[in-house]
Amino acid sequence: MAEPALSYYGKPIIKEPVWKTEIPHYFFAGGLAGTSATLSAAARAAGNEPLARRALYVAAAGVTVSPYFLIKDLGRPMRFYNMLRVFKVTSPMSVGTWIVAAEGTSTGIAAACQLFGVLPRIRATAQAVSGLLGPAMATYTGALVADSVVPAWHEARHELPLVFAGSSAAAAGGIAAALTPSERGRPARRLGIMGAVTELVTQSVMEKRMGELVAEPYRKGEGGRYARAGQAALLGGTAVMLLAGRTRVGAAVAGTLLATGSWCTRFAVYHAGKTSAGDPAYTSVLQRARVAERGQPAVTRYGKTPFTRL
């Protein structure tokens, strides 16, 4: 009995995502914005004005560029507004769109008030909203990709949001640390380090749980390259942050490394997804194993020609 072919002429079984590199950029910018917003709100609550201000501007920058990336990737950008006509819990993208809209608006308002030094009460409210929504903004994208049939994403569904959370913390912490005078930057440094560690640990847990095959796209090829670069940057960033984070230069280097690591992670996830969708083996072997687990082995192949004689 011949082994069944993995697919039809080796063609993919599912379609490769049509998303282009704007999407990992968007994930990065969005994550950075969300966590920065929260960081800013927390700093403000903790009375760390310099950090709060800087994180808020970073968040504002993030929420400004992320819609650009998002809309640019749409096949029909002019119809972006159609997403704002529905709210669907079954669609992380729909939910996310509202989060992005709310986060964008609140962060924008807070940042503007901050910049022009006006309307302090409105600023405070906006900042609170933006700070509360920040974690959602940073993690919903993990849910977004996980809610797909792309094996490298769907099989990572339990961990991906946390990986994204860590990643965004690494970036937000790192960048804030780099921008903030070192004596006021400790929370940012700590956040960056925690983020990096969370990301690294969660990712390795995730890969282990996914199993050799499905995790492969995170280890090989384009996805693997980005993942390795990301890991190196995160590790390096963490180390520098720990050792020299208190110096201006050290913080800048560490922050850049952490942000770069975070950025690489997004690209790693993106490419791993593409690879795992483009190669039918990931879909077919995974699903075949699932079928076998249920005790339904492949039906005997190659019987007679298919006709009934009445």
Binding site: R76, T139, P280, F307
Partner: protein, 269 residues
Amino acid sequence: MRHGDGQTTYGLQIQPRVGFFTDTSVCIGCKACEVACKEWNLVPEDGLVWSGNSYDNTGELSANTWRHVAFIEQQVDDGFRWLMSSDVCKHCTHAGCLDVCPTGAITRTEFGTVVIQDDVCNGCGYCVTACPFGVISKREIGGDGGMHKCTLCYDRLEDGLEPACAKACPTKSIQFGPLDELLERAHGRLEDLRESGVDDARLYGADENDGVGGMGSVFLLLDEPEVYGLPPDPVDPTRNLGAIWAAAAAAAVVLAAGVAFAFAGETDG
């Protein structure tokens, strides 16, 4: 009636759910279905590329190919066989594409079918990643930036006509009708084939307990689904959405906690 998703339909009157039974054992590979679909739905040409993969030069379902006939040449125990099979959107009971569509462009019709409203779709591409069968894709050739797939000839159904592909099929390989009836027929045909010793015949998409809650397009296959380019165990990804949202929520909480923790021991300085 197995209308999917717990979604209410947008039609005024719910009709019996309709679909296809594609009996690949009688497909002669004439591709009349492919051409009829394109003619009726004005689907653009999909590129003049010779694949060398037997007689299949359209390759796969896509925005520009809503019916696709596969050709599989096989050396088998009792000689040689040439399988042909016409694939199409499954109009899933739990349709991933519909679930994830953020604009509501993808809807379930009064016939229980899954249709993209071209004028609403903004081309976000989310549906592409959510279809377990690789049915939807973006119109690159003749590109309008939107996603396209079989509509189960919604316009024809509304006029009481059968879909163009089923109409054109000369051998009744494509059978159209109320899904209940089709399922019955499919099981009958399977039984006949099994009785006459065709052990490798099997139904695909006829199980309402499968990962997509059963399909609106049921197939009779003569080999494993992978051989035809079909997933062996398709699952609507939103089936796991609960877990996904939970993971996201947990991650958000962790993140928030993390940020708070970063300030631990900070004094207002």
